[in-house]
Chain length 510, copies 3
């Protein structure tokens, strides 16, 4: 038998329970075949206790700098979670009735969180077979001690139970950070963010390791109406005016140094298409000047973004920050929804994505340089076996990020392993990251990933593809070591440039 | 043990059986792992007896209006079935030898159906592992009582057995409609079809529910040589001449009303690429006038088709017909074959298909409107997880059609569930449809789909992803309720406009 | 229990073994579920002893014409194997340290093979879960009698053991050819190769069947700087000067005849995109003349290659050589690596590939002609179910080549069967080919493929999709008959033109 999970809390006794009893099966997500399940369980038992390394996510750092109590259950779990409200919206439930804030503060939205919670509970069946269900069940059971199934009947009781827990001191963010056994948590921050919360955390004496990640996308979107504002923000934090590309580039270098001084080990870049191309200095100057005049168009932006990925790679060579690339999402597909509610409302739809030709300029220039590292993500699973695994299985700089977003799920993570391992092995993958805004869901997401990997390894053992001792070593790598090593968290301090180490292509690069 | 299937008929005793005995295993298509199989069997037992809802298919309505006896076995089962004769053709068997009619009525083709049957029987091994084999085995065993394996040795005996059955009154179409337990059967009909057979059925007093589906594709192909003829046919059934786009649009509205009056709940649209774009009224008028002059070119047609999908969506908002989109088939790839035998001869080859950008205009305009519903199909399985599930998991109007055509198979349907559920859930899918011309294969196709879904659900139960009571509810939804609800067959009469209901985007649409 | 494999040799006793014991599990790669495994084992037992048919590969024919002893272990197994050294390179091990030869003969590379071997052994964990590991384990165990696991500790002992074996007469290539039970081995040879080694083999009196394959790609790359040199080589072996396209075409016809006279049954064509188009004679003449003037550009080459695929198909109709198409690899993605080490260094990265539109011209013209046969390969697995299986399931000329390159693996081959069989059946597939330069790995690769197919068939049996007697027949076809028949090795002598047989499209082609 598997012992109770680490996060287990004693359940609150419930009078008058009408809903079905609710438990997490110790072997959930493992194959039914007994020899696979047995191996999976053994491996999982060795993985579950490892610390959580969280190298990429979207937790608000103010949560941990201020360490304020979480809000009531609906505001904590539903209103900010686009995985959840998009599913209800897809079935005809209005965003307003779920209390999702509109841009117009005067618009009528549901203000009673208990009503929001009831709607969600009554529709919980929509999530059958989805990772949201798996994550939320884990949170309900392991974090909040819920022991009846969420539904219309049990909604109010469960709301009260969670609400009571949230008011206790042990549910404050820093306390949970410790209970969750988080070794390091990276946030994602605009390049123009002056990182006050990270400073506060550093200065607070609290020993939790929370680091920023440098995300400059908005500064590269020359044709966006927001660009001038972004540039002004950069001038402000940089403390100097920017009249041309050279100053722009210098400001980015300086910002990266500032991020590194607060513990950053990585950058992050989101683009529709991962196109890379090095422009001549004159061409870049001209593009930048055009943008300053307000004349940049979509094609200009595309070339500039392609060039800036090359610049970012060069800077990574110089300062050691690990580059992350998250391409292929068409943001805000539903423009009516965007107009009313703003971004990140569950209407980002993936695009077919090409890496082999698009990344050639960058990888040809930097991919064999031991000072460079890039973690590639995709929403286009067809690229796993066709492009990404072959690239990672060749270029020393490339690591494959874990199954991302829609594919961070039982079937999605299983497909990822089946489609990448035979070409790239596991040691060219970057381990797991939870990529979440929902702090309380972090242990749930790591647990699911560890179970899926344990099960995949158990299958390899049962089919005699690998031996059990190998599976153990692989399980530890997948659950802990690879994320730590890929993102350089195993280096004592903030990463400096790897310096003029010898190139893997000894004769070809400096 | 599983009890004999509902369609079971007592086998005809056979003297001198040389071929191997033939039976359908009660657990066929279920996983071998005992706990999965046990759950699958339990679930299937609850699904198998549900009525058949057939919201999309290509059965000839004259079959049910005339209720004439079926022809002999080869003409019933082989000559009209492009799934079957294409496989034999691919292995060097000529279409002529299978009795497939040529356009030239004087061409020499095999006229002896027994010889056609023998060729098919001798090549039945080609279908090992294909859904055609699964469907035909079911028909042979359950419908025709065959108890020896089809092959060269048994061909004649089985031919005679089927032929004898087909002559009996209980094998006439309306009798089978009842035995098959069909609740509703939708045909697919040209927009210019005056639906005489549907009228006859309605007036006959027979209580089978057979409804038409409005398919206007041919009227939108401005550049096709057939377009003027199609337009003339529209003028004829509409009873008025059409001199411009406004009249054309009015005629379509009127035809849709006529289809609705005969029970239609849906339209159907086949395009190579699902491109949508709203043109200005002037631009549409100009395109239509150009076509009337006979000057329309391929690019004109592409824009017109894109605009007409927008018009069809608007009309669906107005009259409540559910829109179906079947894109991505390059029809008649083999032009020699087409010249000799005509369309639908097994030479339609799928194309890579893009939905995220192509459907944006339509979904942005109508996708959040509660009066609109569109069922999306694909032949490009890469779009399941990348584009279709994210679209269905966001837009209230979108439902995912079942695994289509080549993918309506054990592995294909399993992939469909594995690739769509984690993002869209099952409640954004449209249930099953058999999409067949072959009336006698309808129960076989539903049975296979129910088995595959039962097995998939059984796997979720065995891995503790869902509980058994949830799987039961999901099984009933997949086998029956979702098709009924998606296509509005649960509404008592023909669907009227949903009227000015409140939008899901309360503040954004009227 | 499964009896020891055919290649088993008695292990050399080892003193002081420190590494873990090493064995091949008899049921490796079979599903853990007992009824699947039982069926798989039974089927495999019937497949494993069948002769090896090797219709496509890259073994150097001089190996068998000269029958010289193999070199020491590192030069045999590591230095020439880009599957192996690319994985080490991807983890930061330099090519130089692995002894991979540079173009510059003076560059410093590791000259001590034992040191190369040690690096490889110490990094053997990188291959966990990859086919390279499966193949090499088989070679070590079955061919070289190794009984301890390869690793840093055991590296030297295993090196010595292999080295000793390689010096024995029974390890010379022709002896192994016999022990491997190879029925026929096809090499791949430039169209300009005069095939001296194949001549020597023929004249030697040795009865091993080694045949060439005609690969003219380099002659079609009009815009490549190497083209004039290739043309000159063609003139040399053809014995006549080539001043225009007609002479060029004639030379190709003559070369094909020469290849056929030495046993060739096939041609092979590698292109980035499988585009086909027939140009007018004038257009072709003009293109060729432009190339002779040295003015051909990339677009010219693309059109010429498209036309030459049409010409090759026509010649295959005329002379009976089976055409093979290997598209979709972007060669030498890493230009620095290419500059230093040359081609085939593990830096070829797949591209998205389209067949439906690209092959239409060719298949429309020749696909229904019984004298034509083309074997299609892909590195883009999305085309299996979307394009390739539908094409193979219709056109008589089309056969699907086995899972290629990165996909020649347990999961890759399984996906191939799951994605192609339901549409194309197995009888439109071409059986297995090992596609290897590594002669000693041939039995390992066939063994893995046979195990995967046996397991897939076993799964069909256990799920009652097919009966056991059918699975037996299918297993024999997949392991032996289909390769033999597809490549016409079952015809006694070299294939002549099939002559004016009746077309499958009787009325449509001559």
């Amino acid at each position: 038998m598997v012992s109770p999970a680490r996060l287990l809390v004693s359940p609150i006794p419930l009078a008058m329970t009408a809903a079905p009893a609710f438990a997490l099966h110790p072997d959930r997500f493992f194959d039914a075949e007994p020899s696979v399940r047995r191996a999976a369980r053994t491996l999982y038992e060795e993985m579950r206790g490892l610390p959580l390394v969280c190298p990429h996510g979207h937790v608000d750092p103010s949560l941990l700098s201020e360490d304020r109590a979480f809000p009531e259950p609906a505001a904590l779990l539903i209103t900010p979670d686009h995985y959840l409200f998009r599913m209800l919206f897809s079935q005809g439930v209005s965003m307003e009735s779920l209390g999702v804030p509109t841009r117009d503060p005067k618009a009528a939205i549901e203000r009673d969180p208990r009503k929001v919670w009831r709607i969600f509970a009554a529709n919980y069946h929509l999530f059958r077979g989805t990772p949201s269900r798996a994550w939320l069940d884990y949170e309900l059971h392991e974090l909040f001690g819920v022991r009846e199934r969420l539904g219309a009947d049990s909604a109010d009781r469960i709301y009260d139970q969670i609400d009571e827990r949230l008011k206790s001191a042990e549910f404050k963010p820093r306390a949970l950070f410790g209970r969750f056994n988080i070794e390091v948590l990276a946030t994602t921050d605009a390049a123009t963010d002056d990182l006050p919360h990270h400073r506060t955390i550093r200065e607070s004496g609290w020993n939790g390791r929370v680091v920023p990640t440098f995300r400059p996308d908005a500064l590269f979107r020359l044709a966006a109406p927001t660009w001038r504002g972004e540039l002004a923000a950069l001038e402000r934090v940089h403390g100097a005016s920017i009249g041309g590309f050279t100053e722009f580039r210098d400001a980015l270098v300086a910002r990266r140094a500032m991020f590194r001084s607060l513990g950053a080990t990585a950058t992050d870049h989101a683009v529709e298409e991962p196109y890379t191309e090095r422009l001549s200095p004159d061409a870049v100057d001209a593009l930048f000047a055009k943008a300053l005049r307000g004349d940049a168009e979509a094609a200009d932006q595309k070339r500039f973004e392609a060039h800036m990925l090359m610049e970012m790679a060069q800077m990574s060579v110089d300062d050691g920050l690990v580059m992350q690339l998250h391409p292929g999402s068409l943001r805000d597909h539903n423009s009516q929804l965007f107009a009313r509610f703003g971004p990140d409302k569950g209407a980002d739809i993936p695009l077919r994505t090409e890496y082999t030709r698009n990344l050639r300029a960058m990888l040809d220039a930097f991919g064999s340089d031991p000072r460079f590292r890039i973690v590639l993500f995709t929403l286009d699973e067809t690229t796993y076996s066709r492009e990404l695994a072959p690239l990672a299985g060749h270029y020393p700089a490339v690591r494959l990020g874990p199954a991302w977003w829609f594919h961070d799920s039982v079937e999605g993570m299983t497909r990822y392993r089946q489609l990448t391992t035979e070409t790239a092995g596991i040691y060219n993958t970057a381990g797991f990251n939870d990529d979440t805004r929902a702090f309380c869901s972090i242990p749930a997401r790591h647990d699911l990933a560890r179970r899926v990997d344990a099960n995949w390894l158990g299958g390899l053992v049962a089919r005699h593809v690998i031996e059990m001792d190998e599976a153990r070593a692989m399980g530890r790598a997948l659950a802990y070591e690879l994320a730590r090593e890929t993102y350089k968290f195993d280096v004592a301090s903030a990463p400096a440039s790897a310096g003029p180490r010898h190139s893997v292509l000894a004769g070809a690069t400096a």
